[in-house]
Symmetry: C2
Subunit: 358 residues, 2 copies
């Protein structure tokens, strides 16, 4: 092929038959490998000094911009069904990008909105989703300033499809932005409330499961909550919204980035009763299920009480809990202490048990 040459990524005969699997989209080991082996190396190979941003593998990049850096991020959303209890693909798209900016210690300013519409999509459904996008943007206080619209074919029997990409730009708020390399042994891991509700609500809607207490997606813009933390003077060492791969995925990334370990206390992990039941029925571990309104926060032990008090005064942090501790144990692993006192190593999922959840 004339487009490949000696700068290509050593495509061997063995690899040349490799094809993309649904599991490549899951935020697990397989996806990490795809990104590290096939996507990042070419992008990071150029001379432009900004190109090393691609290798940082954070959800957003900080781009120097005179005196005020631009935090820049992008996210595509392919969730099915398009509407589910507690939200829809539009709300998800706004919250996902707002949260990716907020966890960098930045205030989201403006979003782009790129729609890929499936042929046959009812315009009324599109209008409902546009309204939901508008409301979520209003909650977050961001403007949607630019957009793009494309249409793709849909074949008979497929459900109406809509894919949304939101990119976003934000302003850094703090002098020492959260960064995995600021994490120290002894730091604590906080989450702002019940985990796994989003993924379980989507899965339940997809499978037609009904529960007595209906599960609702937690999709919410967290930028105001995060700004309050920053304003209070709490030094947030690291933050990440726990989307694909769940809380366990974020903590596995922390271990990879720091060489430190994380010990999670199952008894301190906030999971609602309906979520616990749904997870059991679906055979899923709430720690690995996607959220869209939950942030994993790493702070020093001395800030824990103040942070929990502050978070719990906000509706989006009412059920905040301190669920884990960073340790210097080797090798770098996420370990779960069960309710009965047993210890279990949490593996990063290989693919994904719940595809197209975001």
């Amino acid at each position: 092929m004339n487009l490949t040459d000696d700068t290509s990524m050593n495509i061997t005969d063995e690899q040349s038959d490799e094809r993309i699997l649904m599991a490549h989209g899951g935020g697990g080991e397989l996806m990490q490998r795809l990104i590290r082996e096939h996507l990042v190396p070419p992008l990071a190979s150029l001379a432009n000094p900004l190109c090393n941003k691609a290798a940082e593998l954070t959800d957003s990049a900080v781009v120097p911009w005179n005196a005020a850096e631009v935090v820049f991020t992008t996210d595509s959303f392919v969730v099915t069904p398009l509407e589910f209890p507690g939200g829809d693909i539009g709300r998800l798209a706004v919250c996902g990008t707002v949260n990716d900016i907020a966890v960098m210690g930045a205030a989201p300013v403006a979003l782009s909105l790129a729609l890929v519409l499936g042929e046959g999509l009812p315009v009324e459904l599109l209008s409902r989703i546009m309204l939901s996008i508008t409301r979520a943007a209003d909650e977050a206080g961001v403007a949607i300033v630019t957009g793009d619209t494309k249409v793709i074919e849909r074949h008979a029997g497929q459900p109406p499809a809509l894919i949304i990409n939101t990119a976003g730009i934000g302003r850094l708020l703090c002098a020492a932005p959260p960064d995995a390399n600021r994490i120290r042994a002894g730091d604590r891991v906080i989450v702002n409330g019940f985990i796994a509700d989003h993924g379980l609500a989507v899965m339940s809607a997809r499978e037609g499961l009904k529960f007595e207490t209906p599960l609702r997606s937690d999709a919410a813009p967290l930028n105001h909550l995060i700004a309050r933390l920053a304003d209070s003077g709490i030094d947030v060492r690291f933050m990440r919204d726990a989307t694909r791969g769940g809380v366990a995925g974020v903590l596995a990334d922390v271990c990879d980035a720091t060489g430190l370990s994380v010990v999670i206390e199952e008894s301190q992990t906030p999971v609602s009763q309906p979520a616990r039941m749904a997870a059991e029925m679906l055979g899923l571990d709430p720690l690995t299920v996607a959220n869209e309104g939950k942030v994993v926060i790493v702070i020093s032990e001395s800030d824990v009480m103040k942070a929990l008090e502050l978070l719990r005064t906000d509706p989006l942090g009412r059920n905040a809990a301190c669920m884990g501790t960073i340790t210097a144990d080797r090798p770098a692993l996420v370990e779960l202490v069960t309710r009965t006192g047993g210890r279990r190593v949490m593996q990063r999922p290989y693919g994904e048990s719940t595809p197209r959840i975001c």
Copy 2:
């Protein structure tokens, strides 16, 4: 539906059965209506003063950012086939977003890259496209700083799919950026070379048509060419890359925005011999076919010679030509003066004759 309420867009019974057609994606009248009626009104309804950017309907938004504005844009690419003579979806995605920023009179700085991979996509093909993305970014001198990867199902018999979204940020270069409201009667319309090559190359590849002189996509980053124009002191009144809807689509937008008319001289319109033949075989008008390396430039009569000289010294402007004139004729229309001296009003296409060309 509990997500609609009295702020919704008056969904009438008549509208409620309306569904998205492929033609909604074509950059024609139907797409304009979808955007103006269903997409922009909710986004522009919020109190945030940046929200009026959504109503400007330019391809990029200028976002105030301390002393240095951020030009922000997004574009999704759904072209089939993924590879075609002269380029591929990756090159297209980089060039499209770079050009959207450049035509605002800005220098592109950084792009995001969001991939939606179809299940079954060969990883080798993905790697070729990543390499092409890298090369195009290198040509443009931009870095790809952040990204996202999702996977969607593909059904039996469908070709491997890949959808790419690139968003981008850039810095304004000039004190008086190009803007349709700076266009005056008597101004001239320049294009930087042969039109329609991109759309015709993609269509020919799709239809399996072979021509003696093969048509190649013109996909190219135009930012350096445009920066040279700006550096030379030529006052560019307005610029737009002629993608979906072609040169005629850009000129129809000019008429809508200014209330002025445009007269195009067919004899001065640069179309290569192979493109002319292909357009005839496919029953298409080159003026309405998509490009990805062509920019429509409006300047004053007195700048025309200088601009053409400068453009023609650059490989991307070698066949630049002055093909039209802005007039104060009413009503605001694009009119074509044919080779035989006849006059024909160019209608904005209703849908699109060539879907999924970008």
